[in-house]
Symmetry: C2
Subunit: 219 residues, 2 copies
């Protein structure tokens, strides 16, 4: 679902886009309606163009920036299927959250407090530049911040300043104003943004819509 | 520190206020500067009036509402010193967070993910009505929301609607507009607000001030 929102936006921005999936042939033939969108992949795919659907292993090694929009609980495995060598020296923009739905709603977190998915990915791919961002909001707002009125924020966590600068440029091209992008610091700060998910889920329930976002109001 | 901000405000609002502490005689004679404020308790106490400083056990049983402004790691012990019977049928407005500073900065949380301090207090005092609120901001903003510009939010979690209604009236008397008070649901939703602390601490660092607050911007 997140990928289906991100891919058309990246195509519209003029990027050369590969949509990665575990098994492209199987994905391409998925006729059952998706749980989250109600639309089958086949129908979504036939309505969108300008990108290539490929299996993880077939994403070209020239790719500059990888957006991790996989489920958090399978992100490491998905990125390993892309290939460690391919990710070395590249930016991984990680917007996943590792939630455990196995005990029902609301989910708990698979990793939190003294670790985070962002850090796990950085440790697993030490030669990649992980930038955690956009994980604190609904995917529709990630790619179109104007859906929420007024100022509201997107956070960034990562060890490499140059990579965060490139992600910032990407965010600005999507429509995020420079003033609303908050760099929290190194990748350990993604513990903080990932731990915003539990209140986010409860706010969705309390407000009756997922189309809201956090704004940091300052003195 | 939190108590020293709350007590004068409650006095100014016309409430009959008891400030509880482990040992009132020892607190009353504390001449060393407090770590967080730089002012000794003796000096603070001599500059403020209109309330009584008492040991936890001496808080009168007629007290209607207890504000837990103790350190989260000692909250249960502090409330047990007040007395289980005294708390039965009363509101505990819990604004504490249980942080573990023992491994240095930033702190981790002593309880999170599948439990919360709010729930622990509710379980320990099953006949009290625990309302978690105000724990997502600096104490100066708790008691004076106008210190932060524009709209920003305060959350409430609790099992008893009537108790949340009373806390809401108290919040409004402090200066919180009704529209900015978000009732998240039962006490389990305090997991969400307590887990906002890690990003709050990182935001303090990134923004260079603790005088900010979360605002939920909506479509």
């Amino acid at each position: 679902m997140v990928g289906q929102v991100i891919v058309p936006k990246m195509v519209a921005l003029g990027h050369h886009v590969f949509m990665g999936t575990r098994d492209a042939d199987s994905t391409r033939n998925r006729t059952e309606p998706e749980r989250t969108t109600g639309v089958s992949f086949v129908d979504w795919f036939s309505a969108h163009s300008g990108f290539q659907l490929v299996s993880y292993a077939d994403i070209p090694s020239e790719t500059d920036l990888f957006i991790n929009a996989s489920h958090g609980e399978t992100s490491i495995e998905a990125l390993e299927s892309v290939g460690k060598d391919k990710l070395a020296g590249k930016i991984i923009l990680d917007l996943a959250n590792a939630l455990d739905f196995s005990k029902g709603m609301p989910p708990t977190m698979l990793v939190c407090n003294n670790d985070s998915l962002g850090e796990q990915i950085q440790r697993t791919f030490p030669h990649a530049f992980v930038v955690k961002s956009l994980n604190t909001m609904n995917c529709t707002i990630m790619m179109d911040p104007s859906r929420v009125q007024g100022d509201h924020n997107v956070f960034m966590s990562g060890n490499d300043s140059a990579s965060k600068h490139i992600v910032k440029i990407l965010l600005e091209s999507i429509g995020w104003s420079s003033a609303n992008i908050i760099d929290l610091g190194d990748i350990t700060t993604s513990r903080g943004t990932e731990m915003m998910l539990p209140v986010w889920i409860r706010l969705w329930d309390a407000l009756g819509t997922p189309e809201f976002n956090f704004h940091i109001a300052i003195n």
